[in-house]
Point group: C2
DNA sequence: GTTTCCACTTGATCTCGGTCAAAGCAACTG
DNA sequence: CAGTTGCTTTGACCGAGATCAAGTGGAAAC
């Protein structure tokens, strides 16, 4: 088996995700050490992987499918606080309990590491702590960008923001460009989108219909989305920080 | 000068914050190394410390006063995405540019470290990367808790949530308990509160008046808040995760 | 002392998105 | 095949919060 150690050389024979998620810049020895504590888990759509408050026995990354981090109030109001797409990392090294539910939104495969030995590695391997810090800062930036969406954007802008995020992620995973028309399958139900956007599912449905009527997006069936022009979608999102994605 | 190295022994002669923020568990040598690259900066209320997109030349922590992280859309809509109280850390090791504005909400003193040498220390000192990772995870948790507030709570619940967060922070900084009545000064204008909560300042004002009328809080002047019973405030906040603060 | 300013309050009205209800539609099931 | 189930759409109505507009009160400035 060939071990690839740099961020660019993503992927080894059996786990295309792992290196990218936690091992960029690792040395060969470290990868072999990780190999020893690695295992896979599958989940069905709708299954809760970790309940809020539960002890977490593992960390890991999403191989395929989608997971979400959700918080729920006693009366049932639900807010999704994170969307985990393939290659995203799950887990809080150094934390005993999960602060929110982790739910498999679609069928899901994860590549896991048992927590205790993983934390030992962090303690002894400076690279990994630094890499995790970098990843956590990325998550923090994403969470804060989403706070702007939740706090200040209109329903239409929220939908456009979500669609452009999914389009970007889809493009970067499948190494597609963002210049021409973009097509992808929505991995979320209307209800899941509503929970992410702080809306009701009816409003989500109405706004998607409106964007379709206004030619900003096209729909094939309920889930397959075509974006004729990414720029006009970003306009709708009110997004100044298009982050040079369209250069 | 006495150097205090553990988390409990917060504070040295001239910088009560620094150790707590970045040096928990540090060795004496490291503290002296930090000492060499440390300096103070003062800002006036309303002053922008770092503009979104600017290169960041330093990291540091708040000594006194309040700073906020804000994002703004072209049309002026503003969302505060973070509230920095004394002892909070500012900066993204490893990042060139700031992703949002950092603004002094009140007069402010910060204890800064020049970024380049600080990052060198991170690279060579495993403790610090781990400590920063822990702090960043805390910030991430706070940001995600706030996403629930922004996405799903009513105006009244939002106000109650903000007040209880400030009350908690104030109590922990000033080593007060949370069992009896609690009193503190609001460090934010109505407008700043609105920007944090995703509301307008008029709604903030109305809801504060309503909470006052319903005896959940008392006001002396515009800013001095008295909370007769923390439990009823948390009830208003709809907060199941009172985090055992009232045990 | 009164003027100005700023943060705040209060009121009247409007609107976006929530709520409630019905119905469409594709995929299964027996 | 009819019947169920889950996801989605659409319509009618309503209300929380936004918007627009005065007005209050206290502290600094002249």
């Amino acid at each position: 088996m060939t071990l690839k150690a740099s961020y660019e050389h993503v992927g080894c024979d059996d786990c295309p995700i792992r290196h990218r998620a936690v091992c960029a810049h690792c040395e060969k020895d470290e990868l072999e050490e990780l190999e020893a504590i690695k295992y896979y888990r599958s989940f069905e759509a709708g299954q809760t992987i970790i309940w809020s408050g539960d002890p977490m026995s593992f960390v890991g990354s999403v191989v395929s499918g989608i997971a979400s981090l959700t918080q729920t109030m006693e009366d049932g109001r639900t807010q999704m606080v994170g969307l985990l797409l393939p290659s995203d990392f799950v887990g809080r090294p150094g934390r005993e309990a999960a602060p929110y539910d982790v739910v498999a939104t679609t069928d899901l495969v994860m590549c896991c590491f048992r927590r205790a030995p993983f934390e030992e590695m962090i303690a002894t391997t400076p690279h990994i702590a630094q890499r995790l810090l970098e990843m956590t800062l990325d998550e923090l930036d994403a969470a804060r960008e989403w706070m702007l969406v939740l706090g200040r954007k209109t329903a239409r802008e929220k939908i456009a923001s979500l669609l452009s995020i999914i389009a970007r992620r889809d493009a970067s995973v499948n190494r597609k460009g963002l210049s021409g028309p973009i097509a992808f399958d929505l991995p979320l139900t209307r209800e899941a989108m509503a929970d992410y956007l702080g809306l009701t599912l009816e409003t989500v449905s109405r706004q998607i219909s409106a964007l379709k009527k206004d030619q900003v997006i096209q729909l094939e069936g309920k889930r397959h989305v075509i974006i004729p022009d990414m720029r006009s979608l970003l306009d709708e999102a009110g997004d100044d920080s298009d982050g040079g994605f369209l250069v």
